[in-house]
Symmetry: none
Subunit: 200 residues, 4 copies
DNA sequence: GCTTAAGCGAGACGGTACGTCCGGTCTTAGA
DNA sequence: TCTAAGACCGGACGTACCGTCTCGCTTAAGC
């Protein structure tokens, strides 16, 4: 968690912390990241402002904790099966991700975090290591298994392959340059899997 | 330009407008987008705040004008040649883009615009139509010519192909998940071109 | 007035200034000096806090202006007649002052100013020069005329005589060590006038 | 002492109490009454805040105890001799008081107490009964002996006489309207004694 | 001598106000 | 009429203290 080093976390008031994270999530859904204020969170959580500042360095940090706390409650990482059919497996997972990113309750805080990360290298580091990279790993690992099965080129750079899959998806979503549809991810998967097949 | 409809643009003071755009660019390079303020721009440009509010609806709009004004001064769009060798042409262009995005003077305002766009759909629309889409078009058009030459599958979705090329690039840059290098774009191009070759 | 040097007073909004002074006076009467807050004044005056900070350096300064503005509206300085009978004239004036200091509307802000002055040398300087000293002068001048008439010793220190009259009064009021009555001031006047009669 | 009734004073930690009083005195000398904080005292005394709140109801009460504790250590009440020469005796005593009030170590906490008393009737009651009134009594008693000796009028109000002596002194000091000098108190004494001589 | 209730240092907590910054609107003087 | 300047109302910032409230811990009294 992102607490200040100065304070003794064993004395945290659980009830307050939960109220803060819940307030942050619900508020960011209502007003967006830029209009999200620490005062607003404190007011909704019925908490003193200092209680937020004591434990988090910025609203981005609050939001990150809020988001991951909720995600860990459900089963966070979208499931990526390994049926032996790489393209099918990738499509399955990415279609689930499409649904997720079309859900306003997921989208609002996630966009807020992305904005914070784009803005500030420190936030980006947190965002990446706690949200993006775990997702990447799942894809890389599936690609690796395909590689070992001989389905894709032995020398393919799997990290970059994952970036093709997820970067195009992210960009379309973040800049709203198009709808996130099953067709879109299917096409992306086909192109990438095809590209990986014969020496790249 | 993004001016308000209310004012008569023939009466604009050119000197002031230029000073505002220059001030916006230099300030965003110094303090970043979130700490960029209208008051700060006005003060540096030695201009009344109202003069900014009269002609632009938001700091994102100022910045967008500032950025495009500078870009148009130089030759903005990265040149994409058509030598007949698709992969080589794409690499040539993307390597130039790598250089551009590694230039701090370019990077700071562009990142600011991307943040504004990620935040706000209206800003995104402007950002996309004035900066992203023109770039996309260049790539799509080159892909189209390759398609007509029979180098890539006839039924390939060229827009999505361009998104693969540029989205992975953008994501890596925006979230700072890795360095932008020639090797990176070369690999991306090879994968994508390979993927386009045989029906996708 | 106690405005900051930085601002151009010709651009003050009269309505706001008046509202601030009125709010300060009414609030100090309701809650006392220590619980008087700039935020409270701003809220009651329907004014931004900055508008107070722009023109006054402290709540003591606001209050001093508020108090003197009101006083100048009425005829501030208690009238001290010169009938030729020094003791009678002093009693007349001090009895009026007794009434004034027994009036809650007068007392609350005046006590607030006295507290501020006792606390802080800068406030004391303002308080003294704008409120105490003018009062002193009136008494000294009446004593001077009595001295010229031969009613009191030629070498008497009139400023100190005034301090005896007003200091004992002030102390009793400020520390609430006794009631302010006509009898009290009459006795004080008799003692002091008697003491001044034969070389002191 | 001003302790709360709720607590059992036999269990007080002497060391802590002393540290609190010393911290209060030294801090008030450094920052003044308004900027004196309970947290600051606790921090300097290396004591929990609750230990202060347990034993004193306000910072004024702490300060009053701190001040009287120190005073009782030395011989607090300025000696007022009775040589038969009233004026000389009063001058002797008041000159000593002048020295006292010109001593910064004495002045700072005493001013703080006076401010607290001026502000708040409850503090005033404590301040008066524990510091002012004992001083008054000494003067009244000396005047009484002079009255019995026939040096001053038999019907003179001796309390008011004492108020003349001490009130003018206090006022000059509190509002810093002039220096406290031997000449000043000498003149005050001469006027008052003279005024008391023949029926007042 | 053991236990148990208190005082204790520490500091988190819900609050209030601070003094500052900036947003976006409005007013004024001058070119 | 547009501009530079900046006052205005409003709202959020991040900080300082308030007075209350747990926490473990020490410690002294009374069983």
């Amino acid at each position: 968690m992102a607490q200040n080093t100065a304070s003794d976390s064993s004395r945290r008031n659980e009830r307050s912390q939960r109220a803060i994270l819940e307030a942050a999530l619900s508020l960011v859904g209502e007003v967006g990241y830029e209009k999200l204020t620490i005062e607003g969170i404190a007011a909704r959580a019925k908490v003193g402002k200092q209680t937020i500042y004591r434990w988090w360095p910025s609203k981005a940090a609050v939001l990150l904790d809020a988001f991951t706390a909720e995600s860990e409650a459900g089963d966070f990482e979208s499931f990526l099966p390994d049926t032996g059919d790489l393209a099918a497996d990738l499509k399955f997972s990415l279609r689930a991700t499409v649904d997720e990113f079309n859900d306003p309750n997921f989208q609002a805080p996630y966009r807020a975090l992305a904005v914070a990360a784009a803005n500030d290298a420190a936030a980006a580091e947190q965002f990446t290591s706690r949200l993006l990279e775990p997702g990447n790993k799942v894809y890389i690992s599936r690609l690796h298994s395909a590689q070992e099965a001989g389905d894709i080129a032995a020398d393919a750079d799997l990290r970059i392959a994952a970036e093709l899959l997820l970067g195009s998806f992210s960009q379309r979503w973040l800049m709203r340059t198009g709808e996130l549809t099953y067709e879109f991810v299917d096409t992306v998967v086909d192109m990438v899997v095809n590209g990986l097949r014969h020496g790249a």
